[in-house]
């Protein structure tokens, strides 16, 4: 299946901003985060088709996933 993955802020560095990627059916958001070597504790917001999602949610063809880092400085 094809999933559009959008990365934001520091997650773009050394990776990409937006890509349509191929994954086996039922791949979870967590596996994509792992595959991209994004440390789980750095993940702030996950959006699946513009709705808040969790790492455990599995994906279907055509889904759009957005991954934002956790920003906490002042």
């Amino acid at each position: 299946m094809k999933v559009t993955v959008k990365l934001f802020a520091s997650f773009q560095a050394g990776r990409f901003n937006k890509e349509i990627r191929d994954y086996p059916d039922q791949t979870s958001i967590g596996s994509i985060v792992q595959e991209l070597n994004i440390p789980e504790e750095e993940v702030g917001i996950l959006l699946l088709n513009a709705v808040h999602a969790d790492l455990g949610q599995s994906l279907k063809d055509g889904d759009i996933v957005a991954i934002f880092p956790l920003v906490g400085g002042g």
């Binding site: 802020a9 956790l70 906490g72 002042g74």
Partner: protein, 272 residues
């Protein structure tokens, strides 16, 4: 007050009251410059310092700002810029909350820091700086860390809270206390080239949603640090939100977070 009004109206030039005139009126009538400023604005005159505010902020709105009370929690990277911008805008009462003193690693970005003030408390520096810029603004310094226990007292009577703290747990407590007190909260956070701003109205849990995945520790700022410009950008966006909330103007970042990426100059909205 009628004689003060008459005095001001006689001496004002083109509807403007110079700082010198404001000061001499305070001396003559034995009032504070803040008290005189209220009478100036009530008389539909304008302190000369606010001339360039006028195309966007009316005299009545300037009076509203002068009578507003805003808490700034954190007086570091974000907070320094926020306090200065609020004071220049003409917000009359600011509560500045921070437990820390200035250290050398603050000098790259914290507006209120200077070599001379290393070792000085950030809240005292805020009082000193604002006294130099706009003595009609009262800054109440609280040199203690904000927490759920003491927070209600710190935020007593404020119209608005601005989040300029540097860690997630304090932010969550701040959101909780602001909600209990029925006060809107303008959130800002930064890390390296990146920043984010969100406005939380009482009864909304958007900040909790934003940090729902946080378990412990810092965000990406621990790796990325903070340069001079990111706090200034995020702080200015927060003060723009604060100005609109105090005056009931425009559209705010309600239930949508603005995510700022200064490395690629991308501005994205995240629904919350």
């Amino acid at each position: 007050m009628a004689s003060l009004q008459t005095f001001l109206k006689e001496k004002a030039v083109g509807g403007l009251v110079s700082w010198q005139l404001q000061q001499s009126a305070a001396e003559k009538f034995q009032l504070t410059v803040a008290e005189v400023e209220i009478v100036i604005l009530q008389a539909e005159l304008l302190p000369a310092r606010y001339q360039r505010n006028q195309q966007m902020i009316s005299t009545a709105q300037q009076l509203k700002l002068l009578q507003s009370h805003v808490a700034v929690v954190g007086c570091g990277g974000l907070g320094g810029h926020i306090i200065e911008e609020l004071a220049r805008l003409g917000v009359g009462q600011i509560v500045a909350i921070d437990p820390d003193v200035f250290e050398e690693h603050n000098l790259n970005r914290q507006l209120l820091s200077s070599i001379e003030l290393l070792g000085t408390s950030k809240t005292d520096a805020a009082v000193q700086r604002i006294a130099e810029i706009n003595p009609a603004v009262r800054v109440r310094p609280i040199n203690v860390a904000f927490g759920k226990e003491n927070g209600r007292d710190m935020l007593k009577d404020v119209d608005l809270v601005i989040d300029a703290v540097d860690n997630v747990p304090t932010r969550l407590e701040l959101a909780e206390v602001s909600c209990q007190l029925n006060v809107p909260l303008v959130h800002g956070a930064i890390a390296g080239w990146y920043g984010q701003v969100l406005t939380v109205y009482p009864g909304e849990d958007t900040l909790q949603k934003l940090y729902a995945k946080w378990t412990d520790g810092k965000g990406i700022e621990a790796k990325l640090g903070n340069p001079s410009f990111t706090p200034a950008v995020a702080a200015s966006l927060q003060v723009a939100e604060a100005c609109k909330l105090l005056l009931g103007l425009g559209g705010t970042l309600r239930k949508r977070m603005l995510s700022v990426n200064l490395l690629d100059m991308q501005f994205d909205e995240i629904p919350l």
